[in-house]
């Protein structure tokens, strides 16, 4: 057989595999949305959950998910940017840097339940934070930080060395060059990675079960003082998130409409994750086009 024919066969196989993956994804999406969307309503999205009766919503869980996401991103974005800049621009090539990189890679491949148990022992028990948003946000940071750091590092690294030389040759300091030339050019990649990371965090359950906890006490949306116990902003209250809620309903839910609530919550979760993913592509492309002036 000639190489042309092989080429055709190989292409065919690849198309087939790609097609199968798309089909699986499409099936999953349609299945979840088909089952879940009929239960999603404004009432469902805004009202608190009920433990024994039907008609409960996911309002508090939804709020908790976003609050936790924001808190953990507030912690991990600055750290990952700092660490990524250091690794890509300043770290010397030696055994210590290699060790740091290897550790980051290992950390990023830890199963999230392990991160959750670690968070439970360290943040909830040892640090005394208990089941709280803060404890959950820290666990999510441990879970997300390695990937974010790697993403920042890779995005910076993908900017050609000639850009650094251009800055230095104009008499700019290394820091100025990194800050004003390299980081802006790497920004589309960095932001895309951050949004994808946000999506990952949003759908995370295992790391939160024993850190942010599995209960969603009622919130008083009229009092935003973070020190008030029922305040939505109180970082020390337990906070069941949407993903944890789905897990919990399915393992021990006793409300009569448990399967409907679970299906509705799953649909909402999947839509949120999809928004993060498409948002990441859109924002990344948009910034890139804006900066390079290409269409």
């Amino acid at each position: 057989m000639d190489s042309k024919k092989w080429d055709k066969i190989a292409t065919g196989v690849l198309y087939f595999i790609a097609g199968v993956m798309i089909l699986i994804l499409a099936f999953l999406l349609i299945f979840i949305l088909w089952n879940g969307l009929p239960h999603v309503s404004w009432h469902f999205l805004t009202s608190p959950a009920k433990s024994f009766q039907s008609g409960g919503g996911i309002g508090i869980q939804l709020f908790n998910s976003f609050y936790l996401l924001i808190l953990s991103m507030l912690i991990s974005i600055p750290i990952s940017i700092g660490a990524g800049i250091y690794l890509s621009e300043y770290a010397k090539k030696n055994w210590l840097t290699n060790l740091v990189r290897t550790s980051i890679d290992i950390l990023s491949s830890l199963p999230s339940i392990v991160v959750g148990l670690f968070g439970f022992l360290v943040f909830s028990i040892s640090a005394g934070l208990g089941f709280s948003i803060l404890s959950g946000a820290l666990a999510l940071t441990v879970f997300n930080l390695p990937l974010l750091t790697r993403n920042v590092e890779e995005s910076l690294r993908s900017i050609s060395g000639s850009q650094r030389e251009a800055g230095l040759a104009l008499g700019l300091s290394k820091w100025e060059t990194v800050l004003k030339i390299i980081i802006p050019e790497a920004l589309p990649g960095i932001i895309t990675g951050m949004i994808l990371g946000a999506g990952r965090v949003f759908g995370e359950a295992a790391a939160l079960i024993y850190t942010a906890g599995q209960s969603a006490p009622p919130l008083d949306f009229t009092n935003w003082n973070p020190f008030y116990i029922a305040s939505p902003l109180n970082p020390l209250r337990p906070a069941e998130t949407l993903a944890v809620h789905i897990w919990k309903i399915n393992s021990e839910g006793i409300m009569p409409d448990a399967s409907q609530v679970s299906a509705g919550a799953s649909a909402v979760l999947i839509i949120a994750v999809l928004i993060f993913n498409f948002g990441a592509r859109y924002v990344g492309n948009h910034i890139y086009r804006k900066m390079t002036g290409t269409k």
Binding site: K92, K93, S160, S162, Q163, R164, E165, A166, L168, A169, L170, G171, L172, S173, K174, E176, K180, I181, P184, E185, M291, T292, G293, T294
Partner: protein, 269 residues
């Protein structure tokens, strides 16, 4: 490649009374780790003249050029010994403010490397960082440097567009404009036309010739026609040594060293 005795050299002396020296090196050695890439080069560079550095690839031209504004500082494991004299200061010495020095000794690289910013911002970026804030001054700077780089007529209506949309030759001229916007004394160029087509190349050459009135130019090229067309002096590099340095017409028409003659007549390289 044939081996030539590196003792066999001709380095023309420039009488400092007749020729103003803008920059010179004295016994410059450059090491990459333990391997020595430049073996003690001493050269003068006359003010407002173009000096070409020629030689086969790997002979050390870029290494030497990059050490003149200490760009090699940024490569881990490099060491530069010897003196680089600029206005009676050894800028290879300790305690020299490298960033300040690079504002006086600008550089243009082999591959055009504009920032992914607008044409306007490419030129004004570094001057702004140096405290020039006045919009009118900046506008003027953009216009004069782009004119000097022979790019103004082509881009004056699209200054706010991305520099990445320009052709390779235009990008390289923008890089030249960007370098001279810092008003350096000396301009170092490392094969600035090697990635360009012949028409862009000749535009860049014309640009350099017109810049000669205000700048001291040191240019690496492995294109001997180019060296012949634009330079006043030529230094021939061979395996990390300069074997011949003289006025350009002598190097090309009456070389004093066998290796130079073989190289300029195309017998190796």
């Amino acid at each position: 490649m044939q081996n030539y005795a590196s003792e066999d050299r001709y380095i023309k002396e420039l009488d400092p009374k007749k020729h103003e020296i803008a920059l010179s090196t004295e016994d410059l050695h450059v090491f990459y780790g333990t391997s020595e890439a430049i073996h003690g080069v001493s050269l003068p560079f006359e003010r407002f003249k173009i000096t070409a550095l020629i030689g086969a690839s790997g002979s050390g031209k870029s290494t030497y050029l990059r050490s003149l504004n200490r760009m090699n500082d940024n490569i881990e494991g490099t060491r530069v010994d010897g003196k680089i004299m600029y206005r009676d200061i050894d800028i290879n010495g300790k305690g020299v403010n490298v960033y300040e020095m690079r504002k006086h000794i600008g550089m243009v690289f082999q591959r055009p490397n504009p920032f992914s910013k607008s044409i306007y911002d490419n030129i004004t970026f570094a001057p702004k960082r140096n405290g020039i804030k006045n919009k009118k001054v900046l506008d003027e700077l953009v216009e004069t440097t782009l004119k000097q780089a022979a790019l103004w007529d082509q881009v004056k209506d699209q200054l706010d567009q991305s520099a990445l949309a320009l052709s390779g030759g235009q990008q390289q001229r923008l890089c030249i404009a960007r370098a001279i916007a810092m008003k350096p004394d000396i301009l170092l160029l490392d094969e600035p036309a090697s990635a360009l087509d012949p028409i862009s190349t000749s535009t860049v050459e014309d640009t350099l010739l017109s810049l000669k009135d205000h700048y001291t130019i040191i240019i690496v090229t492995h294109n001997m026609q180019q060296a012949g067309r634009i330079s006043d002096y030529t230094a021939f590099f061979h395996l990390g040594n300069v074997l011949e340095y003289d006025i350009t017409s002598n190097v090309f028409q009456r070389p004093k060293i066998q290796a130079t003659e073989d190289y300029v007549s195309g017998r190796f390289g």
